[in-house]
């Protein structure tokens, strides 16, 4: 039984450690905030210029001057601070954010990431993704293991334009979790009832398998 989006977000939340400063990408990564373990206090950064994002506002708290990087209305906390985009990316580029969790179109077995552009099709832009993957200490990708047409997204080499090279440290997909280091990729966890064999079939990248899964 493959993981749901919620399962993936819950698994990603285990990467959070007490005191971490974290940037969550748009989409599934945003859900991770709902599963922060008890006793773990993390501070969420939003790259449009805020540290310590609060939850979505109540109806009467909505403030057009207070949004996250996904342009959603949010709230502030007692410990919040605001700053310019230059200061925000100085924080990101300077390695002060502990963890970034974001989505992906493709990841290579050496940790290359493609998540911003499909040539000839989509003209949206990379936003802050290239800065985040270049600057944040640890980068975690949450993604469906395969594209809608069934093709592999975890590849030997990305075929789409890259967001960053050798930047992904961990992939959490619906079939399991892969750790990527300089030595290569390793499958370290499996979703319930998913077999190593099934993962191999659905993956183009080479990866080794952690002992406890064999």
């Amino acid at each position: 039984m493959a993981w749901t989006r919620e399962n993936m977000a819950r698994r990603a939340a285990k990467e959070l450690q007490d005191g971490y400063y974290v940037n969550l990408g748009i989409g599934i990564p945003t859900l991770v905030a709902n599963f922060i373990p008890d006793g773990v206090s993390v501070t969420l950064q939003s790259e449009n210029g805020m540290l310590a994002m609060g939850p979505f506002p109540a109806e009467d708290e909505v403030d057009a001057d207070l949004i996250n990087a996904g342009k959603q209305t949010i709230t502030e906390l007692d410990k919040s601070s605001y700053f310019s985009s230059a200061d925000s990316f100085a924080m990101i580029r300077g390695g002060h954010i502990d963890l970034s969790i974001l989505g992906a179109m493709q990841v290579s077995e050496t940790g290359d990431l493609a998540n911003w552009m499909i040539p000839g099709k989509m003209v949206k832009g990379m936003g802050g993704a290239m800065d985040l993957v270049a600057g944040v200490k640890k980068v975690v990708v949450i993604m469906d293991h395969n594209a809608r047409d069934g093709s592999a997204k975890f590849l030997k080499n990305c075929t789409l334009p890259l967001t960053g090279v050798h930047v992904v440290d961990l992939i959490i997909s619906d079939v399991g979790v892969f750790k990527i280091t300089k030595e290569g990729a390793t499958l370290i966890e499996l979703a319930p009832d998913v077999t190593v064999e099934e993962v191999r079939e659905r993956t183009e990248a080479s990866f080794s398998v952690a002992d406890n899964l064999l």
């Binding site: 939003s46 790259e47 449009n48 210029g49 805020m50 939850p55 979505f56 506002p57 109540a58 109806e59 909505v62 403030d63 057009a64 001057d65 207070l66 949004i67 996250n68 990087a69 996904g70 342009k71 959603q72 209305t73 949010i74 502030e76 605001y82 700053f83 310019s84 985009s85 230059a86 925000s88 990316f89 100085a90 990101i92 580029r93 290359d112 003209v123 949206k124 832009g125 990379m126 936003g127 802050g128 993704a129 290239m130 800065d131 270049a134 600057g135 334009p161 890259l162 967001t163 960053g164 090279v165 050798h166």
Partner: protein, 233 residues
Amino acid sequence: MSKIYPNAAAALEGILFDGMTIMAGGFGLCGIPENLILALRGSGTKDITAISNNAGVDDFGLGYLLTTRQIKKMISSYVGENKEFERQYLAEELELEFNPQGTLAERIRAGGAGIPGFFTKTGVGTIIADGKEHKDFDGETYILETGLIADVSIVKAYKADTEGNLIYRKTARNFNPMMATAGKVTVIEAEEIVEVGTLDPDQIHTPGIYVQRIIQSVNLEKRIEQRTVRSEG
């Protein structure tokens, strides 16, 4: 020499010309200079190179200037909300230069700070690095990015005093402070204009030296793109 102008059109008088470069503050539709964008549309200035993190939506913000075809080129990090933008771009009617958001922010900060170039890790190994100088520092590779300045910067502030000292509000700050430093002429629209001495000197976000012209914002829409609320109870 008062920096206060009676309205947006007056504040842009004499500083606009076809082919000029304009920086416009804001992130999405948050903290954008609504009045000055409208006045820019009214001016009919053409062939603008617009430096702005986003391109507005079809019927608001910089989208206005796309509809009127006043913009020749955009330098942005993300334009996903604007269909007209995508149409013009795919039809090759519009030039587009994507910058990573942090690189864009830093290029503007550098332009205002007299720094013509800086090295960053962002974009190394991607198409962003194509044609750019690469250099290693301590065994890691970086690329050279250049500073950006504009003929005019249009900036949205929360409060301005009559000397041009500015304060921004919450995430409406975003690109506004850097752009205020990087315009040869910087024009501010503020929700409130106050007398000097009202703002705490320790709490000025943009010192008045960067500000040449100021207007009072009127009829602000402050449109929200993603109105997300939590369910009560």
